[in-house]
Symmetry: C2
Subunit: 240 residues, 2 copies
């Protein structure tokens, strides 16, 4: 049965972590809202699932995944589910939990990056909290970026350099790829500086990028470009 | 073998979600840093595990859990691990993922509440970002609080009212208990208003509170009081 992903059709966002796993797994899936409205797509599909915008109560916010009888929300929970379903997760109890731990660390970076352009509230636009964003982005660049990349570099080093957990690529490896790609887009100046001290992270990104299905996906029209609607936004005033 | 929890000894924080599950499970555990320094406790135990503060690389930040060969970080990953180990988690694939989804929603509330008093950066004290906090807390109270509580009220309603997932108490139920307790501490005026529209959440908190082991724990010295070092802080200027 075809898996359905329900996510905003015009941005990568948290949905992209799910898309990358579906793509690398070669899963048969539909990115429902990206279909034309005449074929049942469009952003209003997401709204139908969104808590508070309709009568639905699947999960508080997208992405949503529908796999037969299972309907699920929360990016790390969906990635863990898909990782285990498609052999992109470790199998021992300890390593399974460790993979989830690292996916949650990826999600923490996503939240912090989001808050560099939305430090006051997600209910207001960036332009309405731009002053606060300058301070938040500076704190992120100066006090957090090196530390996050250093952490993942060290995890890769401890595991032999090829994968975050257990010696074989699993779902958090795609998460790390995506946050580094996003950071390079949003903070090109700061990240270029920080990656110099995280050579294993840099290599890891290239390793994931060259996976045949990932490479095919990135070259396809299915991969949306980064833009200023998503998590990783290029506002030059926030970089440096 | 005794399970070890490594968390700051002077606050509830994210460690409290782990403590509640260990307590309800009747697990044999040591809250290591809360022991006297002469017995190997103290905050410096946490520092020894903290990424960047020592040579350790278990996880980016506490809580940390050690269970025999397994060492783990990230509150939701630890809660899922303990829930499954001690029968406080659903067993079907769909419900297992759903429990994790709801624990991650609990964690999202924790992050948002943290950011009401640390909107700019976690690297500075509240007093250094108090102006920004006034706006962030107001946005949280006016635009998010009702919605979060309403979401959990609806999940309880859809599940029959007794538990969040699958009809039996599981680890996210303790998470919901803890965030409501914390919200009542931090925003007593706003939360009293919002709970009026979330009667199932209010009942649920009392149901968890009256579990014999939870009740014994809450009455013991092991339960730290809420205070202004944790996630949920009572700053009267942020309530209303």
């Amino acid at each position: 049965m075809t898996i359905k992903l329900i996510y905003w059709p015009f941005l990568q966002g948290r949905g992209e972590f799910v898309r990358l796993i579906l793509e690398d797994a070669g899963a048969e899936y539909e990115d429902v809202a990206r279909k034309p409205e005449s074929e049942g797509g469009g952003a209003n599909v997401v709204t139908q699932y969104l808590y508070g915008a309709s009568d639905a109560c699947v999960g508080f916010a997208p992405p949503y995944l529908i796999d037969g009888e299972i309907t699920l929300a929360q990016m790390p929970a969906i990635c863990a589910y898909l990782g285990e379903r498609f052999g992109l997760a470790p199998t021992s109890d300890g390593d399974r939990s460790r993979a989830l731990q690292l996916q949650l660390t990826v999600a923490d970076v996503v939240n912090e990056v989001h808050d560099t352009h939305h430090p006051v509230t997600s209910s207001l636009a960036y332009e309405e909290q731009k002053d606060e964003s300058l301070g938040a982005a500076r704190a992120f660049r100066e006090q957090r970026l090196d530390k996050w990349l250093g952490f993942f570099d060290r995890v890769l080093a401890d595991g032999g350099g090829e994968a975050l957990v257990g010696g074989a690529l699993s779902y958090p490896d795609f998460g790390l790829f995506q946050i580094v790609e996003g950071l390079c887009y949003a903070f090109p100046i700061a990240v270029e500086r920080s990656l110099g001290d995280a050579p294993r992270v840099r290599d890891h990104v290239e390793r994931v990028r060259s996976r045949p299905r990932v490479a095919a996906y990135l070259a396809s029209e299915r991969r949306l470009a980064f833009n200023e609607h998503g998590i990783f936004r290029r506002y030059p005033e926030l970089d440096g």
